[in-house]
Amino acid sequence: MSTQTHHHEKDKQDLNKFGYAQELLRSMGGFSNFAISFSIISILTGAVSLYGHGLTYGGPGMMGFGWPLVALFVMIVAASMAELASAIPTAGALYHWASILKNKRWGWYTAWINLIGQIGIVAGIDYSVSLFADPLLSDVFGYTSTETTILICFGVILLTHGILNHIGIRIVAKFNDFSAWYHIGVVAVLVASLAFFSKGSLNSVDYLFHVGQTFSDKPYMFAFLIGLLQAQWTFTGFDASAHTIEETVNPRVRAPWGIFTSVAYSFVFGFIMLAFVTLSIKDAGAAAGSDNAFIYVIREALGGDFGRVMLWLVVAAMWFCGLSSITSFSRMMYAFSRDKGMPLSKQWAEISKKFRTPAKAIWLAVILSFLLALVDYIIKKSNPGTTHTTIAFMTAVSVVGLYVAYGIPIALKMIAKAQGKFQSKHLGPWHLGKYSDLLGSLAIVWIIFISVIMVIPPNEMAGYALAGMIVLLVAMDLLYYRKHFPGPQAALNTSMAEILRKERELEGGSSGGGTGISHKG
């Protein structure tokens, strides 16, 4: 028996122990699992689209201090999550962990909070693509870029991502693999361009660590904290490595590495990129006051044509990021619906026999993300005096939703461990040993801190939106799901005969044929 086939059998048996059939195509290797999270973190999306936000509030010091500070704490969160992914390798991830570490209601809330964050992240990423692409397209086709054209562009981008995700994990995984190298390549080209072809000389390194300068009306320390949204939003979405765990070969080792290393590499490459962009700033005040600070700095430093080419390259990277984020979002919904946690669950848990993808969940992800942007568009149209920016609204929603969902299972694991329910024998191969509780506690403290920071003015609209969603969740729970949500524990009652029947049924209809095993390294 080859090592790959052995792993596939073992992975399938591990999944079957939780009462689930191997429905998704298990074809992702370690690099693909890393690449999907690295692509969603996408330093060329988060750090770039919120570059103006960071610069406006925290000045150049935001890049020198804010980025590594956030990265340090996010790595702590990622390490704690990675440990759980290794111990409980199912696509439901955060929600499934919370369910079995505490109870199904904790799991249900975790899932919905995660889902809210996922809507925010998909919408935020694809809206970023359209914020950059629409002005570039307007230059090419000679129209005026407006909020309406940006919304249309956003819809088209979502559509392309929906189609590719529907077609299959193999093509998406190939795009993700390419995307990881593409991100590194574009950062290298950008850094080299700024280092060697920037008009005039670069600022001294001191400039990168210059604190005390803000272009907002807030006191510096407060403004600096608001500016952390730039880095904090960038470092989201690494739970994708856990959501694609049922599509990864040897996931108990590869998924945790995917979670942690995607954050670590993003920190390194993101810092190098931000450092060179910031050292290229000619007039920080003008950049902060421009419509798009990143575009402004690049065009000032590299000139119109060269700058435009660089921006197209960045847009492509953002597009890859959006593609991966829909994959992650749809898998999360698939897993949650499999346990009947959503309205019309049967629909969203359905797997396309032809493509072995959760096709309906994919299109639901597309529609929900578009609706979030559409609602914000309508609010802004009906209240022209509104001051919040769409991108800051979406990103704040996603940061709080995702990080709270990250924090709940980490906290529940510590509680279960203290109660003696979760023991050393339950840990997977990837674990933090005696440092687990210390790192888990630090992760919780950071999550509480940033959740507060992300919803204070000027992002209070995100706070209201999240509060409204929580009220809705409580109502849904009390009125229906408290009694009718079976939770993942119910799957444990599924007989092995039923699990095998489901697997045989899908293998018969899969275009991949055979066992559906791909032998990616």
Partner: protein, 42 residues
């Protein structure tokens, strides 16, 4: 002064990443499958 603090922060972040890689890597290598039991919440 600010430059020194900044460089120190970057170094600490890098060293933390390397420490986790080493810690988890050792645990993966020394993992004993026979002692493992799936946590299924029952």
């Amino acid at each position: 002064m600010e430059l020194g603090f900044g460089i120190a922060l970057i170094l600490v972040t890098c060293l933390f990443a390397l420490w986790i890689v080493r810690l988890a890597g050792n645990n993966v290598r020394n993992f004993d499958e026979s002692k493992h039991e799936s946590f299924i919440g029952k």
